[in-house]
Amino acid sequence: MVVGDISTGTDVLVIGAGPGGYVAAIRAGQLDLDVTLVEKDAYGGTCLNYGCIPSKAMITASDLAHEAGHAEEMGIYADPEVEMDEMVGWKDGVVDQLTGGVEKLAKANGVELMEGRAEFADENKARVVHSGGGQGSETVEFEHAIVSTGSRPIEVPGFDFGDDPVLDSRQALALDEIPESLVIVGAGYIGMELAGVFAKLGTDVTIVEMLDSVLPGYEDDLARPVKKKAEELGVDFHFGEAASGWEESGDGITVTTENEEGTVSEFGAEKVMVAVGREPVTDTLELDNAGVETDEDGFIPTDDRARTNVEHIHAIGDVSGEPMLAHVASKEGQVAAEVIAGEPSALDYQAVPAAVFTDPEIGTVGMTETEAEEEGFEPVVGKFPFNASGRALTTGHADGFVRIVADEPSGFLLGAQIVGPEASELIAELGLAIEMGATLEDVAATIHTHPTLSEAVMEAAENALGHAIHTLNR
């Protein structure tokens, strides 16, 4: 390390400390590389500070408040009051604990932390611009770089996140009062997760979505129970409507939408949250100076070692494209670090699990039946409905099902889709099964604890084989 001219040298420069970057840095540290991790905002990135963690904390808390107030069926009578500022404060405490942990773990693994915005000067040099007045910048020379600058919410023309009643998901998760009413633009997973939070806290929620269904990209029968439950919670859906603008009106605002025929509709509310997707963050970086290319959507294309077109510069996480998920970012980060250390690592996983933390939850991994057909397999499908699961009934949440897709001749598992209680956890076993090259018989023959939701996984495998016990077979 050269000091004096405020210039530093490092084996690996990691830019951005989200679940991609901080994991890459820790892994590189473990592999005895000299690592510098630069972050311009907050350790943990979008996921820990404004995304996965805050949303899941608010989901649990709003869920508990709602459940307790709606359990007369179980003989429980309660009328919970929610202090939103305290709920948000609790959520912030969880976030602080985790981001503090990230910082400690990075240091314990020998990672050098640097606050500031990094931009490339050339292929082997970056400038780190410190924030705050007069803190200047310094130059870091690197052998390898890992770009993990993440993504940001897409702004819809007419909706400026700087305006007070217009919220992105981050701002919506930091409100200190429960809004009386809220228009949500976009019925993707972020919109649907937060619709649940606010509806359960008593907000009148209206969702406007340009496409014609909730959770575009998920199969109909997975999305249906989520939409049904949201409707039961009072969420008002308007499909085929593109949000075009908003204006103040009385105490609140009016949001204007337009459908395909050009018909204009108006929705009154206290606030509007826009969640129509996320775009890669590359404009903070001066990528050109390093010769790193982006595609037409602004993502940085990478190969199966997470390398960009410049071999010693890797890109991982949201900035490197779909699927934009924290655990994919982390996996790519591990692989990038291992590749730099000379290990024979690659992104050769068979299947990526994903979860939507709506009510009920959705968990998916691998192929759908249709995708399996397209790939040339002869899929067989096994299904088990949670209303036949003893454990599900004892929790009072028995909507949904487990579905397993396998190749019929060989029995190999190809994919699974779950909608229902703890779908996000249940999908883990199926992810392992797919990675291991397990067959339906392997899953069906494995003893599963009674009474658990995981029995539904076993039963779905048995159903595909034609001998489920707790449901009728095809």
Partner: protein
Amino acid sequence: AEEVSTGEGRVFAAPSARRVARELGVDIAAVDGSGPSGRVTEQDVRRAAESADTEGESGE
């Protein structure tokens, strides 16, 4: 060993077997699997690597 299922480019093998294949420079998609339904085991990969070595030595 049986044929591994037909889906394109898809290999049925545990992550550990796939890692060993990369380590030994074996194209795992070309390895005959001895496991259930033709699943490729780590042993299959090692055997394939050994026979490739001997082929290489005999100049193909």
